[in-house]
Amino acid sequence: MSTEQILGLMTGVAFGFLLQKGRVLRFEKQLGALMLRDMTIFKFMLSSILVGMVGINLLSDAGIITLSHKAMNVGAVVVGGALFGAGWAIMGFCPGTSVGALGEGRWHALFAALGMVAGAALYAELYPFFKSTVLAWKNFGKIGLPEVTGLSPWVIIALFWAATISLFAWFEKKGL
């Protein structure tokens, strides 16, 4: 294996370990989040975003890493996001968690993963069509919120922290 592959594998093992310990891989947790009954996934994702956004922006400010935004292509993100949301609710897994759920023995996740491979193959065939339609509507390019709002990233991070910590406090108060 190349350095690239070994690094990917090691990072993935740690990723899968934490997803499993956080108990976010299971179908009932994913559905619990989408039915707004079980906040585990919100707590898990938002906690990682809180920590990650500080570290990533520190390293980026220091010039150690470069940011890599995904394009804000309106049709792609809105229509694609909606399709993803619909499929997610039915299958009860997202791409990363399907593979993790398989690892903890939930073998019906295999059908989800196979469906997603089929979906990827289908997308590859339909790509020329999407490129001239949905993807061609309006593209704002690779923009970050600091450029959109004119605010310093640290102001946005402080606001995000304040909002998220308040949300966590509310979850705990309500016993969610």
Partner: protein
Amino acid sequence: MKRKTKDRGWSPYLAGALLGLLAVVSVWATTALLGKSTYLGASTTFVRAAGLLERTVAGEHVAANEYFKKEKVRVDWQFMLVCGIFLGALVSSLSDRSFKLEGVPPVWKKRFGPSVGKRAAGAFLGGIVAMVGARMADGCPSGHGLSGMMQLSGSAFVALAMFFCVGVIVAAIVYGRRAS
């Protein structure tokens, strides 16, 4: 705040925060070792897996496909990351005995019955729709939800809002209140 949950897992705040640290270290490590800042993601791997599988029967078709050319069909960093997720979850679940063979999840069983075939069909069809959407949006809850949010990407906030809003509506329609 409890450190352990009822199902013997770690507090989601703790596990999530550790994942945040992992995400930061991973971007730093890929920059230092591979020369390119690479962020956690999962859905592009399904494109590469589809390309690798298709290539065994229709090599020329894959080589000529514009999207496969764009995403490059090969076993890259993210492909191994996704393989690692499987291994990490396997090790973690075996070590704390939460590994469980399950063909039909309880919430599904309550709504659609114990048929494995029905669950397989639902998972497969949902998977197709979700992956077409993820590739169109250029990311999933890992790429947009975690990595994009951490970078304060404009697209991540919109994508994550769409994922959850439509997911909540479809879950309510499909599983209804009867599943509770």
